[in-house]
Structures are given as C-alpha cells and as structure tokens.
Symmetry: C2
Subunit: 315 residues, 2 copies
C-alpha cells in the first residue's frame, strides 16, 4: 500500500487565497530606469491557500479549496489548474467583475525574492462564500484557515468545522475578537515572526523568546504551536515539550511556499497520528523540498519525507 492510498481517507479543506503566481528568475535587479532580461518565466497556480492545498494533495490527502477568483481569463485558467492538481473546486467562488489576484515573485540566483501582491478586496472571502461550503467543511478531517482573510470569513470557517476536526490556522488574526476565537478553536496555530507579534503582543527577538511565545499560546488552547524564529528555523511546541527545527535546504532557490509546505506537512503528519515532534520534522523536510525549487509548488513524496525526517532527526 502506498502512502497515498493509506492516506486517501483524510479530507482536508483549505480556506484561503487562490491566485495567479508569476515567477520571474533574474540575474540581478535593474537599476532605477534600467532593464534586465528574464532568465526564466513560470506562470503557476499560487496563493497561500492553493500552495497549502497542493502540498496536502501531494502528501496524499483529498483536498478541497475554498477561495475566490475573478471572472477574468486568469480566473478560469487558475480554476483549471486547481482541478488539474487534483483538488476539488466546488468551494472556489468565481466573483463577477473582480480581477483574479496576481502574485509576482521576482527571484535572484541566491534565492532572494521580492514579492509584489495585487489582491483586490473583492477576491477576499466573505462569510457567505465560506457558508456556501459548510458541508465540505463539516466533513473535513482537517481545516486549514488563513487568517489573512477577513474576520467574518475566518469566523464562519471556525464555526463550520466539525468539533473533532484538526483546525489549523496560519497567520495573524485580523482583530482581537477573532484572535480569541482562533485560540479557543484551533488545534494547531502557525505564525511567522511578525504574525507572532500580533498573536502574543510582543515580537520574539531570539529563539528563547520564540519558545516562550509558543508556550504562552499553548496556555490559551491550541495543542500544537508552530512559530518561525527570528534566528532562522522553526519552533514547534506542545504541552510539555518543544522541538527546534533547523532550515535543512541544501541549495535555496526560492523561499516562496516553504511556509505553506511546512503547514501542510505538519497537518498531514498529525492526521497520520504522528506525535507533534515527528510531524514537525516532516514539516521541516517538506519546507526544504520547496525552497530548492522556484515557484512554491513542490514535488512531495510522503514516504521520502518520512524517511528524510527520520534521518534529519537522528543528526
């Protein structure tokens, strides 16, 4: 039995951003008024929601996406890409008259990237968009919710999830009321350094403070807290313990989507009944696989990740 077959029972719904992702690789940035040739162009499915969805799918889960596209040509192209990547599109809303979000990712040879985000407010989720997918959400084993979406949509997703579902939130809550709801309901809370500040009220300056922040958040309800450290790498904490995950990529090409693969693999690991520390190592390996490739859409193989995670952990 392959990992994918073993895993087919897991239903994951991702609530978040779906976008066009235009990735341009260049040798160097042009000066003011200057021009540079593009070494490589890719036009991909993108956005945090789609990236997390693709990663969960590649790790073997059944994935439904809940997000909003414009009714432009790009929207229809992106919708076809979501379907081609094996995800269910019934929760994807095509909004009349709105432009599909565009993420432009300019990547240099050393893996340094610059992101230009064009996200019209009309392609953010509304509570009604989420409620229209209530049945999907209620039947999911895991619900991944991006907190960059408006508060009403986040709340609707938290409310619709099954009480036994693994609710995973990613990012900073849009307001204090939503923060309370998130910490009360989420099983897993994931944040980068800036987002951690929004969650705990102060910005961790080092690894020790990141661990402190994770422990403080655990006291408010979540069972697993995963925070990026300002010193690089990630901390994953659970009641009574934590692990510090180093960056384990070899040749960084493009950090886009590494955080999304981290969340996806952490979720899938926990769905597989792994303890938080093991799931955290899966997450670190999945993130490393993404950073080695331009464009935020990783090839991921669960068996390979499981093995690489065991090896990385032993070191």
């Amino acid at each position: 039995m392959t990992a994918q077959e073993a895993n087919a029972q897991f239903k994951v719904v991702v609530v978040g951003q779906v976008a066009r992702d235009l990735v341009l690789q260049i040798e160097r940035m042009p000066d003011d008024g200057g021009s540079v040739p593009v070494q490589k162009r890719q036009e991909l499915l993108g956005g945090k929601g789609a990236n997390q969805g693709v990663a969960c799918r590649r790790l073997g889960a059944d994935v439904s996406l809940v997000g909003v596209l414009g009714d432009d040509q790009a929207g229809h192209t992106v919708l076809a890409q979501v379907a081609a990547d094996g995800m269910d599109v019934n929760g994807v809303v095509i909004r009349d008259g709105a432009p599909t979000a565009l993420l432009l990712d300019i990547v240099q040879p050393d893996g340094v990237r610059r992101l230009f985000e064009d996200v019209d407010s009309r392609v953010l989720l509304e509570a009604g968009d989420v409620r229209a997918s209530e049945d999907l959400l209620r039947s999911a084993n895991a619900v991944l919710i991006q907190l960059q979406q408006p508060a009403a949509a986040v709340t609707a997703a938290l409310d619709a999830a099954d009480p036994d579902a693994l609710v995973v939130t990613d990012g900073a809550p849009p307001d204090n009321q939503t923060r309370e709801r998130v910490l009360r309901r989420a099983v897993v809370v994931r944040a980068d350094v800036e987002e951690t500040e929004a969650l705990v009220g102060w910005k961790p300056a080092d690894l020790t403070e990141t661990i402190e922040a994770a422990q403080k958040l655990l006291e408010e309800g979540p069972r697993v807290v995963a925070l990026a450290s300002p010193t690089g790498g990630n901390v994953v904490a659970w009641p009574g313990g934590h692990v510090v995950l180093p960056f384990i990529e070899e040749e960084p090409v493009d950090p886009t989507g590494a955080g999304d693969a981290f969340v996806a693999a952490l979720t899938v690991g926990l769905l597989h009944g792994q303890d938080p520390e093991t799931a955290a190592w899966w997450a670190a390996v999945a993130a490393a696989r993404v950073v080695g490739k331009a464009g935020g859409r990783p090839e991921l193989d669960l068996d390979e990740i499981r093995q690489a995670a065991a090896n990385a952990r032993r070191r």
Copy 2:
C-alpha cells in the same frame, strides 16, 4: 476635415516587437525577501513595435504591424488588442510553440521604472516573416524598422521598402554590415545614448558630442538623425541644421513608450511634409504626452500636438 481624415492616405508599416506589457505601480520597491502591495495593475499591448504602431495610428496613419507572437493564450489576447487598436494584423506571425514576449514594467510614484524583459528568441522576426509581408512593405509611405530584431529581418525590411518610402530605423544595428545598410537606406535614424555608441563608435558625453554624433551620421546618408542626449532631451539634426528638444512633460508618471511616441510623431510629421525642425517639436510633445501616463500607450491628438508644438517652440 479632421487630422485623421487628412492623414488617412499615409500608410505606415512598423517592423518590430509585439508583446504583453504588464505594468505594476508600486509605492516602493520591496527589500530583499520582502513584499509590497501593488497599487495598480494594467495588462496592455506592448513592445516597441506595437507602441510605435499605436502612436502612429492615434496620429491618424493607417498602420500595419509586422511582428511575432507566440501561439499561447497571451498571443491571441495581444493579437486581438492590436486589431482593437485599429491596426492591420496581416503582418503579425503566430509562431507555433513559442511563448509571447512579456515585458514587466514596475513603476514607482516618481516615474522611476524598472523593466524586466522576457523575449524568447523564437518571437524575434525572421527574414521569411518579413518577406511574407513584402506587399505591405512595398506599398507603405513609411516603414519603421526596429534594429533590435535580427540582422536578416532588418535587411529584408530595408530591401522590401519602396525606394520613395520614408524608412525610419530605431536603435542600434545588430552588426557592422547591417549598420552600413541602415545608413545607406534609412531616411531617418533614431538612437538613444547607448545605441548612438553602436552607430558612431563612441559614446557622446554631453550635448555638444551628441550634436557631433548626429552630424557624423548625416554624412553617411540619412536625411534626419534624432539622438537622445546624455544630458536629457533630444537632438534632431538635418543637413545644415539641428534643434535641441527639451523634455517638456509636466508630471512624469512612466517613461515607457516615450521614445516610441517620439519616433512615431517625427515620422508622421515628416509624412505631413513638415520640415525636420517642426516634426521634431511634434515628436517632443508626443513624448511628453506619454510620460504623463502609465503604460506606454498614449492618447495622442494630432491637432493638439501641432498646437502644443508651436507653443513649445515659441518659448
């Protein structure tokens, strides 16, 4: 009689680049690893050939474009835009399996722009592409040729133009043999500072040297030479005289396409029987109209430009 009607007899063929032009306006460039929101996104018809063609069309000429698009979705979108802008598309080649050129134009509030050019060699013109439009070229009153295209295509265009046609070249010749042919055949030669170096063998350091370079080029055949000066503005020279054109834009927004409007208006002015000095003032005004607007596709009105040029000249 409107200017457009008076002008309808002029047939202009533009031989050069046709592309998608993605224009993003931002407040500031992101740092390494950072992200910024996009203030405004435009997806336009672009490329020097298309920009010069649109400008000639808006100045009232009948315009045919000779250029190459890919057979992708973008190519078909761009082709429709060329037609919607009132240009003849019979000379536009759709190349099997090639990606349509993408120009990404990132513009800041002060009008500073950075250009990212993704032009696959397969969407450059081949001699056969140009020869397939021989009848178009032979019947044109003016032929605008971009010297960024391969030597064989440039030569084919020079050869196909009617002996009485106003042949206008823009840019630096790809090699020395092409340089000889260009200077022998072109009536008008246009170049920026870098391109002037390729034409005369040295780079003008100031206005005096730019005038010297123009006079040297006039000795080799062209009747009008238009060179950008490193000190800003342009020099237009003819046997026995020259004029220095200042930049006359008020609020610079995006310099994209200003040089293309300059060439187009200079060409249309000369077709209208204006002396080089008058045509040069038309060109300077047309360029100013473009710089005041993002995206390189100006609204141009011949009567307004004629009047504004007369006013600017009087100052």
